[in-house]
Amino acid sequence: MARWLGALAGAILLALLPVLLGFQPYALYLLASAFLWASVASAWNLLAYAGQISFGHAAFFGLGAYAGALSSLAGLSPWGAVLLGGLAGAGGAALIGLASQRLRGAYLALATLAYAEVCRGIVLNWSDVTGGGAGLIGIPALPAMAWLPAPITRGRAAGYYAALAILLAVLVLFALILRSRVGLAWAAVREEEARASVLGLRPLPWKLLAFALSGAFTGLGGALYAHLVRVVEPDLVFNRYYSILPLVMATFGGLHTLLGPAAAAVGLFLLSELVLHPIDPALNQLGYALALILGVLYWPGGLMGLLGRRRRVHP
């Protein structure tokens, strides 16, 4: 109960943060982007909890971005378009999971990387629909929330709260899953798939569920991103960063922990944008590189491990 109350207090604080920041547009954009990365890192961690290591989350991000952009440009409400992006991410991820069902470990990771490149290639060449290399522009912005007090309707507030909502949703879902039979199935498949199968657990449906949920939240992030920057192109939204950085963030934050990946994502993103990039744009990725080295060589449990929280034993 105390943990849930603490989480609620944290959520309320984050909801009030724009007020404390005076709704400064750049700050809201920065935080919205940080929360988007935190959502994608948490979504990646969710799939990793089920033992499926993905190098292809760019596929789900890009599918969500394009599905959201195309539907929004076709006249669907931007909020509906964002949800559709989530569905596209879920569907694409489930298909990739189904196609990769016989693969494990490094082979699975490489296959997801390949599928992400295939998706990028299709979008790049299907120019009649996707605009090809030029992409799509003029994606409608998220509508101002007219029913809220005036300051909320300005600038980046809608994007901030949408990104926060996606992040809280994935964290709450993960917390619930950890205490459910879904989490038990995922942990068993991750630890010893053959052993779990002998006990009557059929691995494939649980793996596909993990792919679909992870793809859904990543797709939501992609669709929201499309409506924040209002342009999509293959090299932007299918960029390998959306595959590699969530892995780095989750590893540095603490694999399989609830808050580690999200905390690491926010910290590393803000470090990159506020400290390293202003010093020299070439240093932009240095933080992520150092985080990966530290995580692999010295802190296998990530930040959560340093705080004394062991890699999660399924409760």
Partner: protein, 213 residues
């Protein structure tokens, strides 16, 4: 209870893997409860009522001892929609049965070899099997540990389970098995009551090699 003996590399554990669906045979068929199960995945055969342990324990390293048993209790075919509390109580009862009642919260990897073998047994029982494959429960254990395993064999028989057990030590199986099979290089070289099998020259040859002419 049927015992399966054989020298190292004779194919005992491989036979279990084939029968249990972890390996697909290149020839022959596997039938279980009147159903052809050759090549069916392990979860199908597990749900039909086969439970097994592994020669080298394969615990769920990231799970607690209780949750390791909860997997089988939760995902077996029968009554899998019961409440969480009921499933946890059943898992705890199984752990008490194998003498691990005080280890529920421990990680599976914190157990000794003997305790891990008990956990293997509890996990095998968690799916409520009608046929139990036990792979070298007694190997690597002290004489006291082997006596405990004999006690478990007796208790399992009392529960009405059909048991197919692999052991290295003749003495362990001879005391509890109704029938013994001996495997050598993938072939059954003896099949019958324990006393007759143990007295067989062919069995001695399988273990000790041919006599010099």
């Amino acid at each position: 209870m049927v015992g399966l003996l054989g020298p190292n590399g004779s194919g005992k554990s491989t036979l279990f893997d084939v029968l249990g669906g972890l390996l697909t045979p290149t020839a022959g068929e596997v039938w279980f409860r009147g159903e052809r199960v050759t090549g069916r995945p392990p979860w199908v055969i597990g749900r039909l009522g086969l439970g097994r342990t592994f020669q080298i324990p394969r615990p769920f390293a990231g799970l607690s001892v209780l949750d390791s048993v909860l997997v089988g209790v939760t995902f077996r075919r029968r009554d899998r929609y019961r409440r969480t509390a009921d499933r946890r109580r059943e898992a705890e009862r199984l752990l008490v049965l194998v003498g691990l009642g005080d280890k529920c919260g421990a990680r599976a990897t914190e157990l000794s070899l003997g305790q891990m073998k008990r956990l293997e047994l509890a996990m095998a029982l968690s799916s409520r099997p009608s046929l139990l494959f036990l792979d070298e429960l007694a190997s690597g254990l002290s004489p006291r540990g082997r006596e405990d395993v004999l006690l478990f064999y007796g208790r399992l028989r009392e529960r009405g389970l059909t048991i197919f057990a692999i052991e290295h030590a003749f003495g362990v199986l001879a005391r509890v098995a109704d029938r013994m099979l001996v495997l050598d290089q993938g072939q059954i070289v003896a099949d019958g009551p324990p006393a007759a099998v143990l007295a067989s020259a062919r069995v001695a040859e399988a273990y000790l090699g041919e006599e010099d002419p």
